[in-house]
């Protein structure tokens, strides 16, 4: 196939899409393994979701970490040890900016540039079409590999009911930024995830009335247990390698003894066992339920005129509905079959990272761990960098690794026993996942 003259060949360079936490660690680790890297970032600064200035950032004024600092930091660039257990989102942005500065990653990033298309050219290489964010002349460059790190918390999942006839104000949680939006109003918050609970708690402090609608009962874990961040306590059990049933029993007992029986406040009984849904960590929700500031209500069935109809047939009339329905992954620059996407839009990737039919295409950060994402994204990108290196330096060994990986059972690295929902498409236990990655890294250890 003759090269078209307007394609700039970047030879062995790797293209990284996105300069958020996952993209930054991909750049750093690829460069550490000797690759030239071009990273394209649609915004004009690093930080991705953690940068509140970005259009696609989901953070609101009060966003704090859900997992504690030691379980969230990059393994080779710790956060300052005098920071609080659960730092504010502005510190996270500062941390990512310092990471980029420390490792001089800015040299590899093209800001204000969005990726329009990524197409395979047949020999494992890729044509990447870019342009200035929002328009402008398109440019095509050819790369040896493409690493997608475009995040998965920016494309809101729509409310599964028709809201066209609703006359009240309806916003997605991504548009919620400041408690001033809630002050003195009657607010309905839809969704029992971490964001939904955070906003319900803020509404309890600001709004005149608050309803919190959840589809099912959840296990609301407190942020602290026995004076320690709860995830650090939980990891003690993981360290001892207690079996799941025992951890479930201890979790249940501990929650019973500390938080108590939440059905007393009108919350539904969880329809699943602990550890079968993404952890919801919120100490204040139950507190405000107990003060009557939040009224739990069932699922939303319809929105009509000024009213919201609920699953139990009752009707409420809020001024503002905030849907914390979560987000769906989106790769508008990739043909769906490249990442084996099903009809629901769920990609099928080995270890949630490696494209199954394209050895030079990988996605970093598309996991939902029961801990911080950065450590997983770091080790994912180390694995991808080693893999790309091995493919070139020792194709025979690379083929053997690929052969072995294709036989790796799904249950060894992903959570299968979870509530079926798009919320849990990428749910992993960070310990099982990291064990699997470590095994893969050992197979690819440089000789």
């Amino acid at each position: 196939m003759p090269d078209t003259p307007d394609i700039a060949d970047r030879h062995d360079a790797v293209c990284v899409i996105g300069a958020g936490g996952s993209g930054l660690t991909a750049i750093k680790n690829l460069r550490e393994h000797g690759f030239a890297v071009d990273c394209y970032e649609r915004e004009t600064s690093v930080g991705g979701a953690w940068n509140w200035r970005h259009d696609r950032s989901p953070v609101y004024a009060s966003t704090h970490l859900i997992s504690s600092r030691p379980l969230t930091e990059f393994p080779d660039f710790p956060m300052p040890d005098d920071w609080p257990d659960y730092p504010h989102h502005s510190r996270l942005l500062g941390y990512l900016e310092r990471y980029a500065e420390h490792f001089g990653l800015g040299d590899s990033i093209w800001f204000g540039t969005e990726v329009v298309a990524v197409t395979p050219v047949g020999d494992g290489r890729w044509d990447v079409t870019t342009r200035s964010t929002g328009g402008g002349v398109e440019r095509v460059q050819r790369y040896a590999a493409v690493i997608v790190a475009n995040g998965h918390n920016w494309s809101p999942k729509p409310l599964p009911v028709d809201a066209s006839a609703y006359r009240g104000e309806l916003i997605h949680a991504s548009a919620y930024k400041d408690p001033a939006q809630l002050r003195g109003r009657k607010v309905l918050v839809v969704g029992g995830g971490n964001t939904g609970c955070d906003i319900a708690v803020e509404a309890a402090q600001q709004a005149s009335a608050v309803w919190h609608s959840t589809r099912r009962g959840y296990w609301y874990a407190p942020k602290y247990l026995f004076g320690r961040p709860a995830d650090q306590v939980d990891n003690r059990m993981l360290q001892l390698r207690l079996p799941l049933w025992l951890r479930q029993w201890i979790y249940h007992r501990t929650l019973r003894l500390t938080v108590g029986d939440v059905t007393r406040y009108g919350l539904p009984v969880p329809d699943h066992r602990p550890y079968e849904s993404h952890p919801v960590v919120n100490s204040q929700l139950v507190y405000y339920l107990g003060h009557g500031r939040i009224t739990p209500v069932p699922d939303v069935k319809g929105l009509q005129g000024p009213a919201v109809e609920l699953a139990d047939g009752s009707r409420i009339e809020p001024d503002l509905v905030i849907t914390a329905t979560g987000y769906l992954p989106r790769f508008e620059f990739l043909a769906p079959e490249l990442v084996d996407m099903d009809d629901d839009g769920k990609p099928d990737l080995h270890l949630h990272a490696f494209a199954r039919k394209h050895p030079t295409l990988a996605v970093i950060g598309l996991v939902q761990p029961d801990a911080g994402l950065f450590p997983l994204a770091h080790w994912q990108s180390v694995a991808v960098a080693r893999w790309l290196r091995l493919r070139v330096s020792d194709p025979d060994r690379a083929a053997a690794v690929q052969q072995k990986e294709s036989a790796r059972p799904l249950r060894s690295w992903t959570r299968l026993r979870v509530v079926p929902s798009s919320r849990h498409w990428f749910e992993v236990s960070h310990t099982s996942y990291l064990r699997t990655l470590e095994d893969l890294l050992r197979q690819m250890e440089p000789a």
Binding site: P70, D76, E101, H102, Q232, R236, P375, T431, L434
Partner: protein
């Protein structure tokens, strides 16, 4: 086998934060060189580098820092402190460890991708450290054999011609035997992350670290030690302190250009 990925110790009981003593000397103008972080050995503090090396490195355009080991420490806490200070510097840092500080640096290199690493008079791990110390200073080292803390003599650390030797020796802190055991008999550090270029510097006349140990340490990192005959263990406090630091900075300049 300890895992590099599953860090339960850090996840379940993080090292408590302390106020760390960090001394520094910075170049006059804006420089393109990476910062250099000096890590002293047991008994020494950040002051040992502030005497000559920090200022000299700064005068040659390298932002230079040194960190004191925390009081009531442990090997884990020392390594933690080095990584904390390194990650807090504006750019990817070069780690320079002296004596037992070189062992601390070796562990830190598995936790932080240093720009480069220099091991100065690196104390070898385990029994060979004790053997060498026994030959050079039998009376000071004998207590170590029965589990007490060894004492480093003035003669072991400093050259006979060093006028400030007594003053320096008086500044050394006693270190509990527990710390010596931890640092010398820890599981060998895993390989450095990011594959930094590494240099070993020492003296064949060092009375703490024998020549053979220098060769072994350097060979493990694929090189030969850079030797400065006639100098004592504390190269940075020796009358000839300028020679080794100049050689280190020359090497660094060459490595950074690659």
């Amino acid at each position: 086998m300890s895992s590099q990925l599953l860090r339960f110790a850090d996840w379940t009981s993080p090292v408590p934060p302390v106020e760390r003593e960090v001394l520094s000397a910075l170049p006059e103008g804006p420089e393109d060189n990476p910062p250099v972080l000096f890590v002293p050995g047991l008994g020494h503090g950040a002051w040992a580098f502030a005497e000559h090396w920090l200022g000299h490195a700064a005068s040659r355009g390298f932002p230079a820092y040194s960190v004191s080991p925390r009081a009531e420490g442990s090997l884990r806490a020392y390594v933690h402190d080095v990584v904390q200070v390194a990650a807090g510097l504006p750019r990817q840092a070069v780690l320079v460890g002296h004596g037992a500080g070189a062992l601390v640096v070796s562990h830190a290199l598995a936790r932080y991708p240093a720009r480069a690493a220099v091991l100065v008079s690196p104390v070898p791990e385990g029994w060979s450290a004790l053997g060498a110390a026994l030959r050079a200073n039998p009376i000071g080292t004998l207590p170590a054999l029965v589990g007490a803390a060894p004492r480093l003599s003035r003669r072991q650390l400093f050259g006979a011609d060093l006028p400030q030797a007594d003053a320096y020796h008086a500044r050394l802190r006693a270190v509990p035997a527990r710390i010596y055991r931890q640092v010398l008999f820890a599981t060998s550090p895993t390989s450095p992350v990011g594959d930094p270029p590494t240099l070993v510097v020492g003296s064949p006349d060092d009375r703490v670290v024998p020549r053979a140990a220098l060769d072994r340490t350097a060979a493990r990192r694929g090189g030969a030690p850079l030797l400065f005959p006639g100098m004592a263990h504390d190269l940075m406090l020796d009358t000839n302190w300028r020679e080794p630091i100049d050689a280190v900075l020359d090497w660094l300049t060459k490595e950074l250009a690659v």
